[in-house]
Symmetry: D2
Subunit: 149 residues, 4 copies
């Protein structure tokens, strides 16, 4: 059993729902594999919004963004056109330099697991150089904070 | 017969070749319709490169880009995964404010027409306000030039 | 004034809402132009669902799909990441061979028009040959029906 | 030093070149992270073609496809619009049930590493049930073959 899935370390997981677009299918009749990473982004941004992190503003006003350093996805069973997909997302680890998100995607009706994934991000400035999370956003990301974080 | 197709007004048409990606198909087993607009962009950028317009540099150094004002596509027969597609592109009209490109897409092997399209663009600055084509690029776009253009 | 926009010929327009994904932006900082066609598809499928047309089932059980014959889009003002976009869609013309949809896309908050578009579709069978709309779906598409339609 | 990078187990790696499309960038000014998975697919299909595996035909005639079971990508430094990217791909492991590909993506000019990735695939039939690689394709994938494979 995965402890983190039951009691996520940084508060309850957020849930995003989306409906599979025709554009997201391929000729195999299922969702094309790269699109799951797009869904992770949608869920991640919803998570930010739900926690009070205005990502658009952070990029524009602070000049700080989250560059993806690593992404992975395990495909469990295919999602198909018109399926409603529920995505749970939570932060697994966060410090002032980086954040790791975990994702669980299910078909909403039958609760069938379609995929799980993980993305690791580093804070960067507008020139894509490594940066630190602006102080005002640290608590929202669940960082323990403090000057040394 | 289309005069412009035989003798394009602003020099010979450029040709771009690309192979249909699996990602570009949908569950109908053919290329998803929005992807033809991506191909038009690829052909348009190749046209620029072939004519000496470094689009990346124009955006970065002059702060001038080409925003799409209108796009249309007529789908003649479906392109499929792994097809090699040849795209001919030419400028139909150009002045210091706008450029119109025309496209003709064929399956390379059998010369079957898959689609035709058109995009109309306006020059904009970094804030997306209407702008004029930098003088040094006018000739490349086939603009008659002159102070009043 | 556009009569069709006020009183659509085939019943009230449906409205779809979606939030702009980061994936849908490009380096100009706005939504990449081909993605508006994806949004049109999302709105079209929502329209079908709202009218009782189960598109997935129509494809699977009847072997009939709607192939896009023509698409066009006029870009009025840019949509940006995180904008909530409201899309109104209605059928402009429909007979047993084809359907034409019209779209109007606005940023939900300030009602700013971002784009208008149109797609024309023909009914096709699984082999992409021209077909006719299954009788049971005709009323939903607003076809006047009748043996001669 | 990575032994597999020097002497891949199943013959020389194939190389694919592609130019970054405007569509592939996002508002951060770099390639959107999901698109690297699309590039992996392009490289994988080129690998198949170079080895004599006609993937389109395998899907159509044998009813056998390669479903992705797992994908991962490490982003090393950003690729940007108009960059020419060279992708090396090789099979790391293959048996009659599955194939694992490894990828290395570099900007062609300066040989800068932009990303590395891996995808694991299982053979499936048209109904997405697990299947075995058709015998005639086994050698091409570098499978040791034999009745028990």
């Amino acid at each position: 059993m995965n402890f983190r899935m039951t009691i996520p370390p940084h508060g309850p997981a957020a849930e995003t729902r989306l409906r599979v677009r025709y554009a997201e299918t391929d000729q195999m009749g299922v969702v094309y594999y790269a699109n799951y990473l797009v869904w992770m982004e949608v869920a991640r941004m919803d998570w930010c919004r739900a926690r009070g992190v205005d990502y658009r503003r952070m990029e524009r006003e602070e000049g700080i963004g989250l560059a993806v350093a690593e992404a992975s996805c395990r495909y469990r069973s295919p999602a198909r056109f018109d399926d409603e997909v529920a995505i749970r997302v939570w932060v697994e680890e966060a410090n002032s330099r980086m954040v790791t998100f975990h994702y669980e995607m299910r078909v909403a009706g039958d609760d069938r697991l379609v995929a799980t994934g993980e993305t690791r991000h580093v804070f960067v400035d507008a020139a894509m150089r490594k940066a630190r999370c602006p102080v005002r956003y640290r608590e929202m990301f669940g960082m323990s904070g403090g000057a040394g974080a």
